[in-house]
Symmetry: C2
Subunit: 224 residues, 2 copies
């Protein structure tokens, strides 16, 4: 079954506090996005990779690729206003009816094993996403009130989120809803149950300077 | 209003993979628990501090205090089978009717400002706990099924959890329920709403070797 991956790096990176979009920050001397793209390339060197970037960052990205001698083949597509529109733009370039992974550009440490698990589960179930347990107690706020949730039933959602292409197209064919959080939610709304796959602690989302340091530690293996 | 804190360090530390209970692991050369106790001492040098430890670790703890020249005054109480019993044992030593904080021993980076916020809110509302937003999408699992939750309404719960002593005594006077997760849940069950206070990202719970490295980075300020 044909496969593609859409890597979404739409962030303008304000949370990092610097002028550099977070997907371009250096992890062990190499932009985060290079790590992310290489992870999918390591899974399958023939896998078509579509990178969705804010239009104003595309030139910077191409310059970085040259400067860092980054040669993994990938297509670059301009993103939209919100993640929804960015994924939709990426999806428009996928022409086959196989499987599509949608992955956060700022999850550079995703493993080949996890990518494989997600694709396999999507092939079997139509929709599959990686999740990990939540380590703290969680409350749900309701106005001035809040109530404890049963933590044992909660899971934090990661990417890659993998789907049969037709299901994903159908989901993104519906009008944009500002309540959009992730692709799985959209697909599930169309009636397809989402299969949960074991995620990985090291598949962290790098959104703060501290996350970047943690990613560095993970690469060094000092935290293992 | 009189105040006390109960620091619960009941973990046998198996998640760290080593023979050393995690509350004794060294953070910048000093056991985690020393940092935690010092944080409350810095908030108020006269604050009575009750440390609850598994009975078999008490001698090791006293030895560590001597070895590390740790002189902050505190009482040590033997813990019970579960956290519920440990907190209950600690609470039995608190004789006043003021405010009681219950804090995880493995949250060494709690700030004086946060301790102060929690005590003040407990004085006003009876029960107060620190919470932080959750940065990932979250699902609730129900058998083979799962559904996305509205992340904007979810909060991760931290400590110190602060209460009027009478409310906490009443809560711990009821029979043990294996569904117990934290003190706030118990108190709320008695009918007192729990006030939510802004927690802190750096108030992390150190339960893995990676957490310990992150705590070190936070102390160095390199992630700021």
């Amino acid at each position: 079954m044909q496969r593609s991956t859409i890597i979404v790096a739409g962030g303008i990176g304000t949370r990092m506090g610097g002028p550099i979009p977070k997907q371009f920050l250096l992890l062990k001397g190499k932009p985060l996005l290079c790590w992310t793209i290489e992870a999918f390339h390591a899974y399958d060197a023939a896998l078509p990779i579509v990178l969705v970037l804010p239009e104003q960052q595309i030139t910077m990205w191409r310059t970085l690729c040259i400067g860092h001698h980054f040669h993994v083949e990938h297509d670059v597509v301009a993103g939209g206003v919100e993640r929804f529109h960015s994924v939709k733009n990426g999806l428009a370039t996928v022409k086959h009816d196989g499987l599509v992974a949608v992955h956060d550009g700022v999850r550079p440490l995703v493993s080949v094993a996890l990518i494989d698990r997600c694709f396999r589960a999507a092939q079997e179930h139509g929709a599959a996403i990686p999740v990990v347990p939540i380590s703290s107690s969680v409350r749900e706020v309701d106005g001035d009130d809040s109530r404890p949730l049963d933590r044992s039933r909660l899971r934090a959602v990661q990417t890659p989120q993998c789907f049969r292409a037709d299901l994903l197209r159908e989901a993104f064919g519906r009008p944009y809803d500002p309540a959009f959080t992730d692709e799985a939610t959209l697909v599930q709304r169309g009636g397809t149950p989402v299969h949960l796959v074991d995620g990985e602690d090291r598949n962290l989302k790098v959104t703060t300077p501290m996350d970047l340091r943690v990613a560095e530690l993970m690469l060094r293996g000092t935290g293992e």
